[in-house]
Symmetry: C2
Subunit: 199 residues, 2 copies
DNA sequence: CTAACTATGTATAACAC
DNA sequence: TGTGTTATACATAGTTA
């Protein structure tokens, strides 16, 4: 009616057609923003979007989302940031199983590194695995979670970079410290990832 | 001076401080947009951003970027979308190597599936692996690539979903069909992923 | 679907604290 | 860093072609 925009209500659009139309437009806007950010600030940006009908749109500042994701999972102590709780009953392919396996093997490796550190030896090559977990963000109105624990931060003098992290999510995501992680490996999986039915 | 915005020039910001400030603001804007998109359109959205100083910010509509990425790599015939060309000399961890290995194993599995189909047997469980590749997008002025090949689309009657894909990237990314993929596995890696030095 | 159009809502650059 | 203000650029919902 009003020929301009109405004020935005952040709520699921019920009409399938308008939902798809809105998706198409906003998708382009976000890709544009992501591209601008990566150029203006000279940073790595990766973006994955699925349309309501299941079509993929992805963006990666350097060409491949896989590379961004590799940087993502290669953070020092990447498992510190969240607990590992895959729904193994929903694993639908050899590849997917392999990725989960890799997460676990990575975790085991990190445990080995931690043990080695406690013993005092330094064989491993990761330069820095002190992470200050600082997840934030609030959804439209609820499901807000903030667990900035910010413990004492020791820092490897050889590293200049600051490995903090911010994890923004609406779902049931936790950011726990490394020790808590281990007891939270729940391989019999709960009711997670509602929209993620891999067809 | 002008107390409002100046027109945006999509060009790397040279001043490190303003670059970081701009990043901080725009990062929040993109997360907000990504969240709105996922709620309005009820879709899976994953976002990974690294600040100029290396800090990670990630967003995932369902809680975990890993889950979005799993859906990303679990697309039917995910290798169709691009050629596999990792820089093996830059692989810096067991985990990373494992991921590459998984990509290859996945590819091998897909080849097996294709072969099985050519023979006429249908043992594999992927319901649909017909993909119409439709990458798009143009950067600020150049590095534009469009390879919408749109070949004949056969469709599995049991599948309703349409698995098309759009890949938006500024880097040297190609979208080739499945057969071309095989000859493009270049394990001796070229000059790829300039900003992705895994520290 | 694709492409305009346009009024209006939003994001944000520049500045101040 | 963070917060707030303001002017302006930009994004986009609603609509038409």
């Amino acid at each position: 009616m009003s020929m301009g925009r109405n004020k935005l209500l952040v709520k699921r659009i019920e009409s399938p057609t308008t939902r798809q139309v809105i998706y198409s437009k906003r998708k382009d806007g976000i890709v544009k923003k992501a591209n601008e950010l990566s150029i203006l600030c000279d940073t790595d940006v990766g973006l994955i979007m699925f349309s309501p009908t299941g079509r993929l749109t992805s963006f990666a500042s350097n060409g491949r989302v896989e590379d961004i994701f590799l940087r993502f999972i290669n953070r020092p102590d990447e498992l510190k940031g969240g607990y590992y709780n895959p729904n193994v009953e929903k694993i639908g392919s050899l590849f997917e199983a392999g990725v989960h396996q890799q997460f676990l093997e990575n975790a085991i490796q990190h445990i080995g590194q931690s043990k080695a550190k406690l013993v005092g030896s330094r064989i491993v090559q990761q330069p820095n695995d002190d992470v200050e977990a600082a997840p934030f963000y609030v959804a439209n109105d609820d499901s807000y979670r903030d667990e900035s624990e910010n413990p004492d931060i020791r820092r490897d003098p050889s590293s200049v970079e600051q490995y903090g992290e911010e994890i923004c999510s609406m779902g049931p995501h936790l950011s726990l410290n490394f020790l808590k992680v281990q007891k939270n490996w729940n391989l019999s999986g709960g009711g997670q990832a509602p929209k993620l039915g891999i067809k």
